[in-house]
Symmetry: C2
Subunit: 146 residues, 2 copies
DNA sequence: TCGAATTAGTTGCATAACTAACAATATGCC
DNA sequence: GGCATATTGTTAGTTATGCAACTAATTCGA
């Protein structure tokens, strides 16, 4: 039985597994406890719209690393929650531009504060240099695969 | 507009986002192209059973960092595929012990080879020391949150 | 020893993911 | 202009996740 068959599998679970899941769940929990009633997936879309309003769905796909059907549904649900509105582009009528509602704009500061606080908890005892190296490794993994 | 509101958000997407998604998708694609008809989530369960057969569902929860309903359903689907069997434990009748079928045992070598090959692709140009540091960072993040 | 608390697993509900197939619009080449 | 091709977004079907509520079996303490 070749035991080294399993060596890299452990790494797989590190990259795809526990830290990201734990962070996502903690963020979700903190949102809920503070009356922010959105999912972290919805947050990740709002996040990019807070940086720049009026992105197209395709641009949201690129920004969030999701495919088109995923963004369609996330925007559907955000529209149901009255947090965004689809506006058909006048230059290219295939495109929907996604705009924040006033409600969603008012959520930015408290929600980003909560998110940053959660990240701070997550990164206790992690030196900044290590964070940077970790980012570089994950970026390299991404580049290797794309 | 406080732009540093977004500083840590970028890191969030690194930890939860693109590398892990890209790796999961590549692994799934490689499985499919080589006639391995299981999902990567199912693979992650088989992975631990290949290391040690006859784990309980709770042990699979701990090993894969999933909750109990997730494991219940993954085992349901693996049973439908005739890759595992639930056997009620004689010592503690609350427990199901999960055993691999012969079909699943025969899948181990080719499937682990494919997975390791994919991990090797993913880790091109990443020094071993950096991998270790990255693992340590993600472990610390996990410990900080659990 | 009996009843409360704990533990293992299941079920229901909502959200989200990927794949594949599709419609509508835009582009580009002849 | 007109048809092939590419791009943007939607729909359908399967799988997976999280949470909450639940059943059944076990353990522990008064």
């Amino acid at each position: 039985m070749p035991n080294n068959q399993f060596k890299r599998g452990e790494l797989y679970s590190f990259i795809t597994g526990k830290a990201s899941t734990a962070l996502a769940r903690r963020l979700q929990k903190n949102f809920k406890q503070n009356g922010v009633d959105i999912t972290i997936e919805q947050w990740s879309v709002l996040y990019h719209l807070w940086k720049q309003d009026g992105l197209s769905q395709q641009e949201l796909c690129n920004a969030t690393f999701r495919d088109k059907p995923s963004i369609t549904r996330l925007v559907d649900n955000l529209e149901k929650l009255k947090l965004v509105k689809r506006v058909s582009s006048k230059e290219d009528r295939r495109m929907n531009l996604i705009f924040l509602t006033e409600t969603a704009k008012r959520m930015q500061d408290p929600t980003m504060d909560l998110a940053n606080q959660t990240l701070n908890e997550a990164l206790v005892n992690v030196p900044q240099a290590d964070i940077e190296l970790c980012k570089a490794v994950l970026q390299q993994v991404y580049d290797n695969l794309k």
